[in-house]
């Protein structure tokens, strides 16, 4: 178990990177506490798997350092780093039984057979693999195989960090949910540092205490699921997390007040809005309501579409050219035609060039 520090890490897959675009990972600093559950979240190609492979030691960084418990491990092999990794596709040793698969990392390290037996039994019990312990691993279903991959990591009790690279990709939907809760439960029970890479926000938000959102090889925001939801540092986070994503309206700031068109809108951080740059107001659909009549800070909008997504409905409206979505509960009336919208001021933020105003000094 270890605390992980990622210091100025950069990585390029080509040999002589000269421009910023050459880097798959532009420049990353992260500090992760021992025993935490972390998620790396981002769209495909954002560099999250690269970062993961750098931490595990499968890749060597172009620049920067990786420290486990303040010890530089940047040049160590994966074996020496003593980490475990679960891959997207289940990796098992086909010819071995489940027991031998779980015992493999210990046998390679020359652990005593008696200890191995005890340890494997313990892990198999934890992962509910005991009944299949002596069958061939190749006969198991995808989720069983993925459990074996995980088990090979858990079986070493001194492992520094367990990493997951989109581990639920090939699992059937109904088992996905089960395995996800199992993972979370395990994490809370054994308190190992775990890093979970995914492009699925549900997986990330349910698993992790801290989510690192990445885009284009950069960390856009690190925070708890609630922080990411309530205070996205970047419009990308606003969009990527939440369903539907955050509404963004072009705005201007005059005399310390934000205006959309001619309507004054109260925003949380309007005082910090810079003088220049592209300004936008961001508000999540959850914080948009129909305005009470006579309110002066309400926006005129016209309803264009209503989609029913189960327990609530998403109403899509237009304010001038911009789409604004909001949410209507199951039993509430759905408005039609022209409506007036009000934004919750404490959850309305100004973004300058994509970044939350005031977040970057």
């Amino acid at each position: 178990m270890a605390k992980i520090t990622i210091d100025n890490l950069r990585h390029a897959y080509i040999s002589e990177p000269s421009r910023d675009e050459h880097y798959a990972l532009k420049r990353v600093h992260l500090d992760w506490a021992d025993g935490g559950a972390y998620a790396l979240l981002g769209p495909s190609g954002c560099g999250k798997t690269t970062l993961l492979n750098l931490i595990s030691g499968l890749l060597k960084p172009s620049e920067g350092r990786i420290l486990f418990d303040d010890i530089d491990v940047t040049n160590d092999t994966p074996e020496k780093r003593n980490i475990a990794q679960v891959f997207q596709f289940p990796v098992i040793y086909d010819t071995m039984t489940v027991h031998d698969n779980l015992a493999f990392p210990l046998r390679n390290r020359g652990v005593d057979e008696v200890v191995i037996k005890k340890r494997v039994a313990e892990i198999a019990d934890m992962l509910e693999l005991t009944s299949t312990l002596h069958t061939r691993a190749s006969g198991l279903t995808a989720d069983g195989k993925q459990k074996i991959s995980l088990g090979r990591g858990l079986v070493r009790d001194d492992v520094n960090v367990i990493m997951f690279d989109e581990p639920l990709t090939v699992i059937d939907p109904h088992l996905k949910w089960q395995l996800r809760s199992k993972l979370k439960e395990l994490q809370q029970r054994i308190k190992r540092t775990m890093i979970y890479v995914t492009h699925d926000q549900t997986e990330a938000l349910t698993f992790a205490d801290q989510v690192v959102v990445m885009n284009n090889g950069e960390v856009v925001q690190t925070g708890t699921p609630i922080e990411l939801f309530e205070k996205p540092m970047h419009t990308f986070v606003g969009h990527f997390i939440g369903s539907p994503g955050m509404n963004l309206l072009p705005c201007v700031v005059k005399g310390g007040q934000a205006f959309v068109g001619d309507t004054k809108i109260k925003a949380d951080n309007v005082a910090m809005a810079p003088k220049s740059g592209k300004l936008e107001l961001g508000v999540r659909p959850e914080f948009v309501t129909l305005a009470k009549s006579g309110s002066r800070t309400s926006l005129e909008a016209s309803v264009v579409r209503v989609s029913d997504v189960g327990r609530y409905r998403v109403v899509e409206t237009r304010v001038a050219e911009t789409a604004v979505k909001f949410i209507v509960g199951e039993n509430e009336a759905v408005p039609e035609g022209k409506v007036k919208l009000a934004f919750d001021p404490s959850h309305t933020q100004v973004y300058a060039d994509g970044w939350l105003a005031g977040s970057r000094a």
Binding site: L58, P78, F87, V91, T95, M96, P105, N108, R136
Partner: protein, 287 residues
């Protein structure tokens, strides 16, 4: 949904029947025809029953040829399969050398069989051939036209040169199709190179190796052209394998009855051994 019963669908199978009939059944039946009858020409046939089969199965000549054939195929497989696998493991997985290696490996396979025989025939000549002369200059008495051992040595060397590439290419294709994650997981699990080979590469290569061994078994068991060109079955009968003996029966002695019976026995042996091998290899597949 209701199931539609229409037996006319069987007509779709007719083309396959016709094809199989013309390329397998009818030629085979001609052989069967000769193997159970006797003929003196003029298209007159007399019933011979199982006489030809009994003769062949009892003849020492057949036993000797069969033994030679089994020994030859055995040696060839024992050399080519491990060697081919070894070469495939050493070949680069990416970079500019991949194509160079692949082309070099494919070359022997592109040479016509009788040309291969001629090449080695000339190269191994003890007086003027590069190989033959080199061996003799080392002080080893080597003459493949006179000494059975030299003849066998040359034949095996030739076959290894000619066909190991096939095993290499098949194994290489199998190796490059193993996903990187397996090697990464092995690294993380602390596996040594031997363990990577034993628990990842070998199991993943099982199917291509089965195919490689089957192909090499069948081909080497039926070897004819190269041997005829190189040694003609000699010296004496030292390299008279089944196929060469068969041609001697059929065309040398014009003994069609024995030749036909031997053809069928020969065919059944290959069929049986291939089936046996395949069944054994695939036995553990679904347990």
């Amino acid at each position: 949904m209701t199931k539609v019963q229409n037996n006319r669908a069987w007509f779709f199978v007719l083309p396959v029947f016709a094809l199989v009939a013309f390329n397998a059944l009818i030629p085979l039946m001609t052989v069967v025809n000769y193997s159970i009858q006797e003929t003196f020409g003029n298209n007159e046939f007399f019933w011979a029953g199982s006489r030809w089969f009994e003769d062949i199965l009892r003849s020492e000549r057949f036993h000797a040829a069969l033994l030679r054939q089994i020994v030859f195929t055995g040696i060839v497989l024992l050399i080519q399969v491990p060697l081919g696998l070894g070469i495939a493991l050493c070949m680069p997985k990416k970079g500019p050398w991949v194509s160079v290696c692949l082309v070099l490996m494919s070359l022997p396979l592109l040479i016509p069989w009788n040309v291969v025989g001629s090449m080695w025939n000339i190269m191994a000549l003890p007086d003027i051939g590069l190989l033959g002369k080199a061996i003799n200059s080392l002080g080893i008495n080597y003459n493949y036209t006179r000494q059975p051992f030299s003849a066998w040595f040359t034949l095996i060397l030739m076959d290894v040169w000619h066909w190991t590439s096939l095993v290499v290419l098949l194994c290489y294709a199998g190796l490059v199709s193993i996903p990187d994650a397996y090697y990464q997981a092995a690294k993380i699990d602390g596996a040594r190179p031997w363990a990577v080979f034993r628990y990842i590469q070998l199991p993943k290569l099982k199917h291509v190796l089965t195919i490689a061994i089957l192909l090499r078994f069948m081909d080497s068991f039926m070897i004819y052209t190269e041997v005829v060109v190189l040694t003609g079955g000699g010296p004496g009968n030292a390299t008279t394998f089944l196929s060469i003996d068969l041609v001697k029966y059929a065309l040398g002695q014009f003994d069609l009855g024995h030749a036909a019976a031997m053809s069928i026995i020969y065919f059944l042996i290959i069929l049986f051994l291939s089936w046996l091998f395949y069944t054994l290899m695939m036995k553990n597949e679904n347990t």
